[in-house]
C-alpha cells in the first residue's frame, strides 16, 4: 500500500526493478482497486503480477502490538506470511517500521545462532556507501549481540556492496581499545580471537566522524547509538544544505552564484538523496524483509527491491550461517566448572 506515498510508488518501483532484473516476479498485497489503478502505468509488470486483495492496512501510527494482532488481515502481514510459506523469496514494504519488524520477527523467527535481529542500512560517505547496524531494533546490546551484528553486517557488505573482505569496526567514543562500554570491549576481544578465518577485516573502533570518512565498510553498534548516528547525520546534512540555500539567497551576487551552481548542487543533492541509499533490512530472520523509506520515490523503491534481489540471489542467510559456524569453531571453550570435590 506504499507507506506515506501510496501504491503508485511501490508499483512504479517494481516496474523499474523488473527492467533491471528481468527474473523478478511480483505479488502485490493490498486494496485491489488502488493496485489496478496504479498498474495502468506499469505495463511490464501489469501482465504478470499477481494481486492479492487485502482490505486491512497497517497505519504509520499503529503500535507494533496492535499491528501484530491484525497481522493476517493486513497487506503487510500477508506479504510476510508469503515469505514464511515459501511462496515469495522476499517481502518489501514502505510501511510502519516498528510493525514490520514485529510482524517479521513473529512470523519468520530469528535464525539459528542469532539472538536478536538487527536493522541494517547504507549510509553515504566520502568514498562508497558504508553499512551501519543496528539502527534501532535493539536499544541495549551485549557483547554477543554486537559480535553477531558484525558477522551479519559483513555478510551484508559482501552481498550488497560486492566487497570480498569488508572492513568492520565498532562505533565508539575513541579509537583506543579501552574506550567505550564493556560490551564493546568484550565483543572486540571475541572478534580478535574467533573471527580469524572470516571474510572480514576487523579495524577496532571508529568514532562518529569516521562514518562519513568511508574508511570502514561496516560500522557496528547498538540500536540506540546507531539510530542517533543515522538521524544526526540526516539532520546535519539538511542543516548544511539549508544554510547553503540561505547563503545563496543573501544578495544579488550570491543569487547569480546559485544560478551558475545548479549543476553542482544537483550533483550534491543526488549523492545525499536517501533514495540512492534506500532499502533497510531486518537481518537475522529466516527470510528476507526489506524496509523502503516511507517517503521514498519510484527510484528509491526500486533500489529497495534491488537490495532484496541481491540478498536472495546471493543467499545472504546461508552466508551468515556459514560465518557463524566458522566463528563458533574458533571460539575458546567456556572455562570448565570447578571439578566437584567430594567431602572426605
Amino acid at each position: 500500500m506504499g507507506g506515506d506515498v501510496g501504491p503508485e510508488v511501490v508499483i512504479g518501483g517494481a516496474e523499474l526493478a523488473r527492467e533491471r532484473y528481468p527474473e523478478l516476479r511480483f505479488r502485490l498485497y493490498g486494496q485491489e482497486p488502488l493496485i489496478r489503478a496504479a498498474l495502468a502505468a506499469a505495463p511490464r509488470i501489469a501482465a504478470e503480477a499477481e494481486i492479492v486483495h487485502v482490505e486491512g492496512v497497517v497505519l504509520g501510527t499503529d503500535k507494533p502490538g496492535q499491528a501484530i494482532r491484525r497481522a493476517k488481515s493486513t497487506s503487510m502481514g500477508l506479504a510476510i506470511e508469503a515469505v514464511k510459506a515459501g511462496e515469495a523469496q522476499a517481502a518489501v514494504s514502505a510501511g510502519n517500521t516498528g510493525a514490520l519488524m514485529a510482524m517479521a520477527k513473529l512470523a519468520l523467527r530469528t535464525m539459528q545462532g542469532i539472538d536478536r535481529p538487527a536493522l541494517v542500512a547504507l549510509m553515504p560517505t566520502l568514498k562508497s556507501d558504508s553499512v551501519v547496524l543496528d539502527l534501532g531494533a535493539n536499544t541495549e546490546c551485549d557483547a554477543e549481540n554486537l559480535v553477531q551484528f558484525a558477522v551479519m553486517g559483513a555478510a551484508f557488505a559482501r552481498t550488497v556492496l560486492g566487497l570480498d573482505k569488508p572492513k568492520v569496526a565498532f562505533l565508539n567514543i575513541g579509537e583506543e581499545d579501552m574506550k567505550g562500554t564493556e560490551a564493546i570491549r568484550d565483543a572486540a576481544a571475541l572478534i580478535r580471537t574467533a573471527a580469524v578465518d572470516l571474510p572480514l577485516e576487523f579495524l577496532g573502533n571508529v568514532e562518529g566522524n569516521g562514518i562519513a570518512q568511508g574508511n570502514t565498510d561496516v560500522i557496528v553498534t547498538d540500536g540506540f547509538s546507531g539510530n542517533i548516528a543515522l538521524k544526526t547525520a540526516e539532520g546535519t546534512a539538511k542543516l548544511v544544505t539549508g544554510l547553503l540555500a540561505n547563503a545563496y539567497r543573501a544578495s544579488l551576487l550570491t543569487k547569480i552564484g546559485y544560478l551558475f551552481s545548479r549543476p553542482a548542487l544537483r550533483a550534491l543533492r543526488d549523492q545525499l538523496d536517501p533514495n540512492n541509499h534506500n532499502g533497510a533490512v531486518f537481518l537475522g530472520l529466516n527470510g528476507v524483509v526489506v524496509k523502503s523509506h516511507g517517503a521514498a520515490n519510484i527510484k528509491g523503491f526500486a533500489n529497495a527491491i534491488g537490495v532484496a534481489h541481491d540478498l536472495v540471489t546471493q543467499d545472504i542467510n546461508s552466508r551468515i550461517q556459514l560465518d557463524l559456524k566458522n566463528f563458533a569453531a574458533h571460539r575458546p571453550a567456556p572455562p570448565s566448572p570447578e571439578p566437584a570435590v567430594g567431602a572426605a
Copy 2:
C-alpha cells in the same frame, strides 16, 4: 601552551577577549620564553598579564592517569590549581581533554548534589546554537545523572545563550514517552514531577535529526550517545561540504558557479566553523574549567574565554545549586518501608 597550535593562539585569543571584556585579567602558565615571544604581538595584555613559568606540558598523547601524576609540574595542572586556590576564577585550556577533565575533577571535586560532572558544548542548528551534554565524560549514565545533566544544561543555556526558560529534551530514538532506555524514561518522569518550578521547559524526547532543527535549546544524553552525535554531525558536515567541493570541480560551468558562489560558501563556512561555537565546559565542579578545541584559532580561543567569562560573571554554579535545591524540594519522598508488624 596552546594544544595543537601553540601559545600564540592562546595569547592572541586572550588579547581579543580582553578587547571584548575589559575587566578580564590573565595569568599565563607555561614555558616563559615561548609566552614572552607570543606576547610581543599582544600589547594590550602584555603589560598586565602575569606569567607563571612551568616547564612541564601535558601532551595530547598522555593518558589521564599519567597526566594526573604530574599535575603539579604542568601548565595545565597549575592553571587548575589556581582556580582551586581562588587565585583565578576560571581555567581555559586547549590541551588534552581527558587529562583536563581528570585533573579538574581531582583538584576541584564534584559540586554538591551532582554525582558526575558532564562535558557540555554548543552545536550549530538551523536556528540558534543548542546546548548538548554529556559529550563524552560518562559512558553510561543512570536516571539521576541524566536529571542532573538537564539541570546543569538548562543553567548553561540561560548563562551562555541568554535564554530565560530554555527548552530541554532527552536525545532518544523516538519522540514517544516509552522509547529508549529505562534511565531516560525514569529521568523524564522525575523531571515531569520535580522540575515544575525550574526555569526550563521540558519537551520530552528529541531524535538525532532534531538536534540540527534547533527547536530544542538543551539536548541531554549519556556521554556515549552525545559523543557519537557530536562527532557524527562534524563528520557529516565535512562530508556535505566535501561533496559540494567535488561537485564544483566537475566541469567548467560548475567552476564558474564556484567563483560566483564564493560569498555564499564563505557564509556557510562561517556558520559551521567550530571556532564560532568554541568552548566546551566540564560542568558540575567547584570551579569553572573551559576546554578550547585543540585546533581552534585566535577567534575560537577568544570565544572559549568568553564562555568562561559568562559562566563566572553570572555565577553558573550558584544557579545550579539553587536549581538542584528547588528540584529536591519538589521531589516525592522515597516510598517508606513496609511498617514492621509484630507477630501476634
